[in-house]
């Protein structure tokens, strides 16, 4: 691959990463905690590209203080790195970043495995008032304790049809990126389905699980926008 092609791609990749960060669209793909890493990556890529651009590399003849590991005397072309290269394929993610695909949502629920909740977390009493809980917190408390009894809480997620009838409030949980998404679901009783993949706030109270899925008795269901960070 030609040196200037490498430079073009390096800078382009850095700019693409930067634009995903600036628009906040990166949250469709990775955790918010990736922001500093991605920012450093974008800066590094652009810097490496610019540095190569401004400082033309001129390979010196053999015999300076570098100790070379391989025999090179028979090679008349010291710059023998311009071979056919898959590097051009990096143009594809740059183009896709121009028309960024949406975050994972209701349509991938049938494919994604359910998150296994663990008993160790959320052992404190819940906050006073009408707290907004993550679906993980609600479901964990619902399964492992009774700290939710007689308390109104607010949950946020999108609607998916439940296999046992009615609908579930659903959220996807990612650890690194959308490739490792796992689903977490809470069955909603007492309110009609607002429409599959609609984002809603559900205000209501814990009730015993329905077919193994934690459940909430809804007092109010408000339609809302998809949050910037759609994952938990």
């Amino acid at each position: 691959m030609k040196r200037r092609s490498e430079i073009t791609i390096t800078i382009g990749l850095g700019l693409a990463a930067g634009s995903l960060l600036r628009s906040g669209i990166y949250l469709r793909y990775v955790r918010p905690a990736m922001y500093p890493l991605l920012a450093a990556t974008a800066v590094t890529l652009v810097a490496i590209g610019l540095a190569s651009l401004l400082k033309k590399a001129t390979p010196l003849p053999d015999g300076d203080d570098h100790q070379d590991a391989g025999p090179r005397d028979d090679d008349p072309h010291p710059e023998h790195r311009h071979r056919l290269n898959a590097g051009w394929l990096l143009v594809i993610p740059m183009l896709v970043a121009l028309v960024p695909p949406p975050a994972l949502g209701a349509s991938s629920i049938g494919r994604i495995a359910a998150l296994t909740l663990t008993s160790g977390s959320y052992t404190q009493p819940i906050r006073p008032g009408i707290p907004a809980l993550t679906l993980s917190e609600f479901a964990t408390r619902a399964i492992y304790g009774h700290s939710l009894a007689d308390r109104d809480v607010i949950l946020e997620g999108f609607s998916t049809p439940s296999p046992s009838g009615g609908w579930n409030l659903t959220r996807l949980v990612i650890v690194c990126c959308a490739a490792d998404a796992l689903a977490i679901q809470v069955h909603v009783d007492g309110a009609p389905n607002p429409g599959t993949s609609t984002w809603v706030h559900v205000t209501g109270r814990w009730q015993p699980a329905s077919a193994g899925v934690p459940a909430i008795q809804a007092a109010q269901v408000t339609i809302t926008q998809q949050p910037n960070d759609p994952y938990e």
Binding site: I9, H77, H80, G87, R111, A114, S119
Partner: protein, 358 residues
Amino acid sequence: MHLLYSRPPLAGPLKWWVDVNEAPAIPERRTVARRGVFDTFLHALLVIVSVTFVTAIVGIWLLFNGFFDSVQVQTCSTVFVAIIVQALPFLVLGTAISGAISAFVSPAMLSRVFPSRPVLAVPTAGALGMLLPGCECASVPVAKRLIATGVAPAAALTFMLAAPAINPVVLVATWIAFPGRPIVMVARLVASMLTAVITGWIWLRKGDDRVLSRLAATAGREHHASRWITFVEDMRTDLVQAGGYLVIGAGLASILNVVIPQSRLGFIAGIPVLSIVFLAALAVILAVCSEADAFIASSLTQFSLTARLAFMVVGPAIDLKLFAMQTGSFGGRFSTRFAPLTLAVAVLCASITGAFLL
């Protein structure tokens, strides 16, 4: 001294990727720099225009055929971008380290770290793997530069297998994902370390270093005016090349990730041996990053702990993304030999460790 690994000279058939038309470097620096900037600008413009044109045509054609309305295509492209966005920082980190090795580390310095006998250098490399925090994308370019700087290939390959599997971040993630069962983390550490070291030793005895052909074409380090220029040049080359293969791996993984529904895999869980092989295959296909795979493993509750251990041991050692990147860095003749070897050793180590510890 075995450490300084000498490579056979470039063979004839390798020549096809050498661009003989490359103009010789012109000594006068100012002119070169200016022309370089202008050329690159023109070149970039040309690339952007032609790529946009082709994409527009393909895009319009696909649009009229309803391609983008398909839920699977959308999910697939989301997963594709996600894998790349996630991997990019680690790829940059890995290639920065590889560039730094190339520019600032001499074979003499490495010989102080690695024992001169390769049989001992292999376990040392395995232990050093605990020091590189990150996913598997970082370790491939680093391993490549270690070989180029004179580390025995078997030791560098052991480092490549160990680093993503047993670094502290991954171990802590595994500890969190299996609460109350720290033995799973211990089993992972043991099984992954065994996999890396045993694969390294097998490569030492049976492997043919000559199949590391692609490396032979780039390994000779160029001598630049300053070490910083060497750093920038080598980092950029490694980055673009490894990145290209990351795209291939991410593409394959995203397609299979969407085609194979994780939620309907339970039916295999009851069959003892098959379930281990099956989760190992799933690890190859899903290509999730090694910091996340423990959480996927902990959610596959129908499967035995040993099968889930196999998932966590195989994933960082070999998956589609890694196979593509190894092909890019070391050549297809290497990766088609090394990948099956790694997979077999990883499954065996996980099964045996699981039988004793879990």
